[in-house]
Subunit: 200 residues, 2 copies
DNA sequence: TTTTTCGAGACGACTGGTCATTTTTTATTA
DNA sequence: TAATAAAAAATGACCAGTCGTCTCGAAAAA
């Protein structure tokens, strides 16, 4: 039995990570105090250090907790038997744009925000971010490769390179979105890459 | 006489802004304490608040102080009479890549870092960031428009849209650079956009 | 010309509060 | 009871920002 009944410790950790995702996304690493997270989930400070050891380690775990649902969501679209891979990717990013519009373009991507803020000062967080981004990129690469086989995406450029470009550009447009308070950059990114540059 | 001899106040502000660029770029907004900046330039705290009023206003001025040299550098390339506009842009980004390689991919772009960290929490900084990015984008747009006239860049897509895509993608690859500690993303960005997608 | 007055700018010790982390105490479980 | 986990309390460092004092040059008065 893998997890028939989660222990209180597991529940607490889950709550902390979940709240951590929200707060770190919106207020950043140094902008979020431990007390703020602890108060939100009603867990004493001592327990936090028992669970995670340090704020840095916590942030590293938060990044993994953050990316998992996105991987799941994208994978669900790609696994969908009816519909081509390129269409699945486009629909996935369309959903992301919808969600961002509904949250008034606030927050953006936790990964991108942490990369900019502490990507080059905290080694543990850096490594965790790299792993999360690579996971995401690899799934995108697989989707693009499938689209290549289906003939919708050009084959003179590797799926890996296109996946990288897409991931990186997406991070860039998320930043631009935040200061322009607009989804136009997001849509332009999808159009330019998915509808034009990658097209066969 | 515009500025025959700068006052001590002007010198102090200049030093603070210059040090602010360095520290905010590498340690972020919340990661940099005022004391750290003040100690570095040997200026008392009272003077700081006399000059800037608040840390937030200071950061807003720092962003302007940060972007100016980049505008100048890119403009110098574009003004160069011998050589086409697309070549000038490519050479400019080549220089940026060189500089980033020499600084071990640390820091990245202050604008991008601040967009992620406080782009949606500080209104004054957000506005300043937007202005700085737009300045940069407009210059890039002018360069791309010139390249269109010269026949090296496609004309079926507006120079403005391409400038936006380039600026945004560049921000994204700078983040990726930080966690991969590699200039490969930077080079791929230039190749994909300037050598391929934008090409006529 | 010399003296006095005055005010703007410069200044740094100080404030209340928050920071992440550690140490100590209490509770739980084996 | 011994070992382990959880919670509370304590710790010192640091935070952005303030405020009363001081300095110094220019204007006013003598």
């Amino acid at each position: 039995m893998p997890q028939p009944k989660p222990t209180q410790k597991q529940i607490n950790k889950e709550n902390l990570l979940s709240q951590g995702v929200t707060l770190l996304t919106h207020k950043g690493y140094h902008g979020t105090g431990l007390k703020e997270i602890l108060d939100a989930v009603q867990i004493p400070k001592g327990s936090f250090y028992n669970y995670f050891g340090s704020k840095e380690n916590f942030a590293a775990e938060v990044t993994q907790h953050y990316i998992a649902p996105f991987i799941k969501q994208l994978d669900a679209h790609l696994q969908n038997p009816d519909g081509d891979a390129l269409g699945a990717i486009k629909r996935y990013f369309g959903e992301l744009i919808n969600e961002l519009e509904q949250t008034d373009f606030k927050g953006g991507c936790l990964l991108g925000n942490l990369m900019g803020e502490i990507g080059d000062t905290s080694e543990v967080v850096r490594a965790s971010l790299q792993q999360a981004v690579n996971q995401y990129r690899d799934l995108l690469q697989a989707g693009l490769a499938k689209a290549q086989q289906e003939g919708t995406v050009r084959t003179d450029k590797s799926a890996g390179e296109m996946a990288d470009l897409l991931v990186n550009t997406w991070q860039g447009v998320l930043l631009r979105m935040k200061i322009d308070k607009s989804s136009v950059p997001l849509k332009q990114c999808c159009t330019n890459l998915l509808d034009e540059y990658f097209r066969n």
